[in-house]
C-alpha cells in the first residue's frame, strides 16, 4: 500500500497540470504532459546523458566487480582486512562519494593531479571535469560506490565452484583463460547477470552522486533524466511534467532489463546445444 498509493497518485499527477503554488487545483490534461515531454529537446539530451552514463558506469563497475571478486576468492593472508576495505565504498553514502570525488578530481588541489604529478606523468595540473569528460568522471565516481555490491554477489557465486572440478581441469591441461571460460563462468553466470541488472538500475536511477559532484553541469553536460525530473519538479514546479518524465524513465529501465534477460536466455540456449 505504502508503495502503490504514491505510484498511482503519481500516474494521476502525470495526467494533470499540477502546480503547488497555485494551490491544489489540478487540471486534467490527459496525455498532454507526455507529448510535451516527448517533443522537448532537453528531454532527448538528458536521455542520451543517462544512456551514456549508465553504459560507462556499467562497464567499469562490472569489470572491477569481477576482478575484485576473483581476487578476494584467492586464499591469502590478510584477506579479511582486504574484504573490509573493498566493502567500504558500498557503505559510504552516494552523496558523500560525490563530495569525495570533487577532491579527487579537483583541478587545483585534487589528489589525482597530485599523484600523477608526483609519479612524473603529469608536468602540469589538468582540469578533469570538463564539458566533454564530466559524464565519464561521474561514471567513475558512481562505479566506485556500486562496485562492492556486485563484487560480493559474484564472490558468493565463486565460492560455489567445486574445487575438484578446478583441479581436474588443471590436470587436463586447461590454461587459465579456458579454466575461467568453461569451469568458472557457468557457475557465476547468474550472479553476473544480477550484477549487471542491479548496476544498470542503480546507475540509471542515481542522482545523489551527480548532485554533489557536478550538479548537472558544466552546462547541461551531466543533466541526466533523474536530474531533469528534479529540475522540472523543483525549479519549474511542474509536478505533472516531472511525473510524466519519471514514467518514461521507468519505461527505459524496464526495456533495458528485459533486453538483458532476453540476451541471457539466448546465451544459455546456445550453451546447451
Amino acid at each position: 500500500m505504502l508503495v502503490f498509493y504514491p505510484l498511482a497518485y503519481s500516474f494521476w499527477l502525470s495526467l494533470n497540470n499540477a502546480n503547488p503554488l497555485l494551490g491544489n487545483k489540478y487540471v486534467f490534461v490527459g496525455f498532454q504532459q507526455y507529448t510535451k515531454t516527448l517533443t522537448d529537446p532537453d528531454f532527448y539530451s538528458s536521455l542520451s546523458v543517462t544512456l551514456q552514463y549508465t553504459f560507462e558506469a556499467l562497464i567499469i563497475s562490472t569489470f572491477f566487480a569481477l576482478g575484485l571478486a576473483l581476487l578476494l576468492n584467492e586464499p591469502m593472508r590478510g584477506r579479511s582486512v582486504l574484504r573490509a576495505i573493498v566493502l567500504l565504498p558500498w557503505a559510504v553514502a552516494a552523496w558523500a562519494a560525490g563530495a569525495m570525488f570533487r577532491y579527487v578530481l579537483d583541478a587545483e588541489f585534487g589528489t589525482l593531479n597530485g599523484l600523477l604529478n608526483a609519479l612524473g606523468f603529469l608536468p602540469t595540473y589538468v582540469q578533469w571535469i570538463t564539458y566533454g569528460s564530466a559524464v565519464t568522471a561521474l561514471s567513475v565516481a558512481t562505479s566506485w560506490n556500486i562496485t562492492p555490491l556486485g563484487a560480493f554477489f559474484i564472490l558468493a557465486a565463486l565460492q560455489t565452484v567445486p574445487e575438484d572440478l578446478m583441479k581436474a581441469a588443471k590436470v587436463d591441461g586447461a590454461g587459465i583463460t579456458r579454466r575461467f571460460r568453461y569451469v568458472v563462468l557457468p557457475y557465476i553466470r547468474y550472479a553476473l547477470l544480477i550484477t549487471i541488472v542491479v548496476n544498470t538500475i542503480m546507475v540509471a536511477t542515481s542522482l545523489d552522486t551527480l548532485f554533489l559532484l557536478t550538479t548537472g553541469g558544466p552546462g547541461t553536460s551531466t543533466t541526466s533524466l533523474t536530474f531533469r525530473i528534479f529540475q522540472i519538479a523543483y525549479d519549474e514546479l511542474n509536478l505533472g511534467g516531472a511525473a510524466a518524465t519519471s514514467f518514461i524513465l521507468v519505461a527505459v529501465i524496464c526495456i533495458l532489463t528485459i533486453a538483458y534477460f532476453m540476451m541471457l536466455s539466448r546465451v544459455s540456449a546456445r550453451g546447451r546445444t
Binding site: 497518485y9 565516481a141 554533489l212
Partner: protein, 297 residues
Amino acid sequence: MTFTRNLCLFISSLLAALWSLWPIYSLLRVSLESPAELGAMPMHFIPLMPMFSSYLRMVGFSTRVFGQMEGPIGIWRYYLEGLLNSAIVASATTVLALFFSFLAGYAFARYRFRLKGTLLGLLLFSRTLPPIVMLIPYLAFFGMVHLTGTLVGLTLTYLVLTVPFVTWVLIGFFGSLPKDVENAARIDGCTRVSVLRKIILPISAPGVASVGVIAWLMAWNEFIFALLLVGGTPATTVPPVLEAIFVGGSFPALDLFSVYSSGVMISIIPAIIVSCVFQRYITRLKIVDPGAGTLGQ
C-alpha cells in the same frame, strides 16, 4: 611459481585497496590540511601539521588556528541538529521497517493466500523504481497534509524505501528455516503469535539484526528525499546541511574547505564501522535483491 603468484596477488591487493580507499583518503586529507598546504605543488600527501581544529570548529568549539582564536562555523548548530535528526529518523525507520517486514516476510514465506504471486512481483518491481519517482507524489501529498519539514513525514517515506527491501531479504531468510520446530510447537499448543515470538524471533535474530543494520544505513545515507522534504527546516538531517555548503550558495572560502570536509568525514563514520563488522557476513547473508535501487545510497 608460488612466489610469482604471491607477488601478483600482493600487487593486485594493493591496487584494490588503493581504488577503494583513495577517495576517502582525498577527503580526509582536505579535512586535515591548511589552505596553504592544500595548494602546495608538489602535493603534500601527508599533512605536515594535521589541523584537528577543523573537526572542533564543525561541531561548535572555538579553537586556536595558527595562534589565532577561531570560532565555530556558522552552521554548526544545524549540523549537530542534523546528526541528531539523522540518527532519530534512521533508528525509527529501522524499528518500524523490521516490525512490518518481519510479519510480512513470515507471511510470504509460510502461508498461501490469494494474489501472493502478484504481491511478490509488485514488491520486486518497486525496487526497480527510481527513488525520485516515489518522491514526486509525496511532495504533492505532504504539502496538502502538512507533513513536509517533519521527522514523521521523512520516516514515512523512508519506510517506502526500506520495507520492500527488508521484506524481500527476510522472505528468503525465513524460507531457509526448518519448519519442523514450528509444527512441533503448534502441536504442543502454541498459538501462531507465540510461535512467532518464542521460536521464530530468537532463531532469526542474527539475520534480522543484520538486515536492520543495512536498513539503518540506507536511511542514514539517504539524500534526495531529505533534501526536498526537510532540507532547510529544523527537521533537517545531515545530507541537506552539507549539500547546501557544496552546491548551494556561493563557493566557500578556501579556509572553510577543511571544516566542511570534516563534516562529511564525521557523517561516514557509521559506514566505516558497518563495513568492518560486516565483511564477515556479507557473502552469507544472500542479499540477492534484484533491483537494489537504493541499497547503499
